[in-house]
Symmetry: C2
Subunit: 339 residues, 2 copies
């Protein structure tokens, strides 16, 4: 957090950075980019990179100029900003929580889908379907205050490790996308996350990792209830869905939280189709972009038949809508900062 606020302050003083909170990661210094003149050093030159820089040039000057307060860019999270294989990170969190909470819930040893989780039987977990998943989410995401959940999430994200890379998930974010976030902000954009993931699961770390403040995070949510506990007001998390920020829910979430239509949207799956439609099919210069997972060696290769992050309809829609399709294998020099 110290590093982060140091960057912020430095950028506040720069002519480009007239924003209260700015791109601030330990992996990429916008100031360096300013000097070299290339904000996207991890992108190979080619049509994907050009489509981004051309779009930014177009909306920041000339006949297609867009005022700063309308430069809204929305980013999906899972598979667009960080990894989503072999499973969504938030699902890994939920399964870890089941294991951590098992001693307090002895009946779970006999009760599905919890038993399957505790036995590591992922096939049985998957077989429990949406009903099973909902039970897992309710048991692990509800029944505490928002402050308690924030602490649980923050502790987990600080200690959990991905099995393949043996690194915190917050290091498994895509370096080219961090550069893109910073580049857009330096050009007067406001960057939002619009994710199917839980809004309160993301907010504790998005500012530190992506430079995106809590108020610029849109996501799925469960209901909460305001109540007084020991004379103190709390918000208590209830085992009931409030909003699913996925597919046709994304334009709804955008409208509810932002109240303006984005002019650029970034996704990687069919869950982002409607967000890209809503963003790009509205006249004027627009940028729609899909991250295509094509690199089985450096990350993963998947699309039309994947269980997480399926990219099928949206891939078919890319051509007719002139969306940029980024091949991770050929368009990205680096995928992670640690490479």
């Amino acid at each position: 957090m110290t590093t982060s606020s140091k960057f912020s302050r430095r950028l506040m003083l720069s002519a480009l950075g007239a924003f209260p909170v700015l791109a601030a990661t330990t992996r990429f210094t916008p100031v360096q980019a300013q000097r070299s003149g290339d904000w996207l050093p991890s992108w190979n030159d080619g049509p994907a990179k050009s489509s981004i820089t051309d779009f930014v040039a177009r909306v920041t000057s000339g006949p297609d100029f867009v005022p700063e307060d309308q430069r809204i860019a929305t980013f999906d999270n899972d598979g667009t900003l960080w990894i989503e294989q072999p499973m969504y990170v938030q699902l890994a969190f939920a399964l870890d929580r089941v294991r951590a909470m098992a001693p307090q819930n002895p009946d779970w040893k006999k009760k599905q889908p919890f038993r399957a989780v505790l036995e590591g039987n992922m096939e049985a977990v998957a077989k429990s379907g949406e009903k099973g998943l909902t039970e897992i989410i309710a048991a692990t995401h509800a029944g505490m205050t928002t402050a308690e959940f924030e602490k649980i999430t923050s502790d987990w994200i600080a200690t959990a490790r991905d099995r393949r890379w043996k690194r915190p998930y917050t290091e498994l974010v895509y370096q080219p996308m961090l550069e893109l976030l910073a580049y857009l902000r330096a050009n007067g954009f406001k960057t939002f996350i619009v994710s199917g993931g839980g809004i309160e699961f993301m907010r504790p770390w998005t500012e530190r990792i992506y430079g995106v403040t809590p108020q610029q995070v849109v996501g799925s949510s469960i209901k909460t209830r305001f109540e007084m506990r020991d004379g103190k007001p709390v918000l208590f998390r209830l085992p009931e869905m409030n909003f699913v920020d996925d597919k046709a829910g994304k334009p709804i979430g955008i409208n509810s939280h932002i109240g303006r239509r984005p002019i650029a949207a970034f996704g990687n799956s069919d869950g982002d189709l409607e967000m890209l439609q809503w963003t790009t099919m509205s006249g004027g210069p627009r940028l729609g972009l899909l991250v295509h997972h094509t690199d089985a060696v450096r990350e993963y290769a998947y699309d039309r038949k994947s269980h997480f992050g399926r990219l099928d309809k949206a891939l078919d829609a890319a051509g007719p809508n002139k969306w940029t399709v980024v091949s991770m294998k050929t368009d990205w020099k680096r995928i992670f900062a640690f490479e």
Copy 2:
């Protein structure tokens, strides 16, 4: 809007105004305030004004310093930023819409509560209760796209006049509160509206009038549905409540939209009680403030028994919680800019 963006640009260049969108109203120029040294010229000196300036001094330097990204201030709208008598402005809008839509709905002549509206029988409208009001809201606020509703609202707010002052409602905003908004922003605060009113009813004009961007407006909402119409994506407004941003709903709306707890909250009625509790009962320097309508001559005098904007429980809670109670009669030099 031209004036507004001119102010914005000017402020962007000033050392104090490191924000993309800033206080910008035609009635108050923060630059003037900067020169005179008094950001709150329409406030009489006294405990109410001091409680504000003391709080701001306290959180911007010294041992109680609060970093800028945590300087969140939330404002109720009806009765706190603009008038709410003889009825909520949005209700006046709904009744006007019933009249405007009547030719296309000939059955309304015989059907309550519409008949009562068309006959100007406000007693019968009131008697139709929550059920009647819901029907009026559904008929006037749903059944069109969000873009269409934005146009209807914008056209109405530009032409409708309050009966007592014969002025647009957007001139019936409280000058001292406009100054307060600008003062807080100049001190690194982010100012949010958190209103029981409709989020999409407010957003078309809050930036121009209050300097509050659409994304910083939190309010009540109806459900919307994403769909393609003639090959274009739209959000269609449905006759179904989504969220009521009032009373215990306000902390929930704040948590959902902002994701951070405010350190200052401003209201005027029991609808703001929980917002003030949530804001001030959290440790550290906090400011809770209630606008008390005490000026029957220059505005209105009402509190415990009012139909709109009842201030009863919250007034009782002010003492024990050390909330500032502003008497419009004695604490405000001017109420409106045109005085």
